[in-house]
Symmetry: C2
Subunit: 110 residues, 2 copies
DNA sequence: ACCAAGTATCGATGTGCGTCAATATATTGA
DNA sequence: TCAATATATTGACGCACATCGATACTTGGT
């Protein structure tokens, strides 16, 4: 996975024809969401009591190994969809809804 | 690519934790959008004069071979994001914005 | 019946990436 | 300093899939 932050890249898909570079950027954004484990991580963290969750507490719910979860958390964080804060030996994550909105708005109807 | 139609599958990601099956379905939806050629096809067709376009006219703009374009049009059609109508020897495509909205709304903020 | 043009299918190839076990790194506490 | 726990990194493996050339199928016109 190339791990670029998700930023504004284009007018909505349905409003103006995408140039090649814009399509590449947008597709990279959706690729981050195109994995069920990552979607569950996003969803888990977004719905956590204080909007944040420790890596140690998301591993079990998604049913993947610790390295796999760490890998997905990195991809989400590098894409800007999560923030990561180290507190002692724990890593805490929060979702960044504005970044999700970039992708959401690219699908805005005419 | 598994080629399931994109249908409602879950509450928004940020509103309720996704179950495994929901995450799988949603991820499959985003996987369809996770390719720059498919995004450009969607965008081209959505912005065509009458909202429709012939396969013969989309091949050149996206800069891929005819078999590749045909393949992507199939994936988009099987996912329900495009409709396909055969007229004589030409295949005409239209986007189905309601299907895109299913994915858009899954990203709705709280 | 035949040919030309549009489209779909097939087979092959290379690459991207999700996954895990093993290991390394970091942090805390005794 | 040492042990324990949390997290990241590495290396390897297998599969999914984007792509193309070649070919088959389909349709309309002659």
């Amino acid at each position: 996975m190339e791990v670029q932050p998700i930023e504004y890249c284009c007018d909505p898909v349905l409003v103006e024809p995408l140039k090649e570079a814009e399509a590449e950027t947008l597709a990279a954004g959706f690729r981050v969401l195109a994995d069920p484990t990552r979607l569950r991580l996003l969803s888990l963290i977004a719905n956590a009591p204080d909007g944040e969750m420790c890596a140690c507490d998301v591993t079990a719910p998604v049913g993947r190994s610790q390295p796999t979860v760490s890998h997905h958390l990195s991809i989400l964080t590098d894409a800007g969809l999560l923030t990561r804060e180290q507190r002692g030996k724990w890593a805490w994550f929060r979702v960044v809804p504005e970044r999700l909105s970039v992708l959401r708005e690219a699908l805005t109807p005419v």
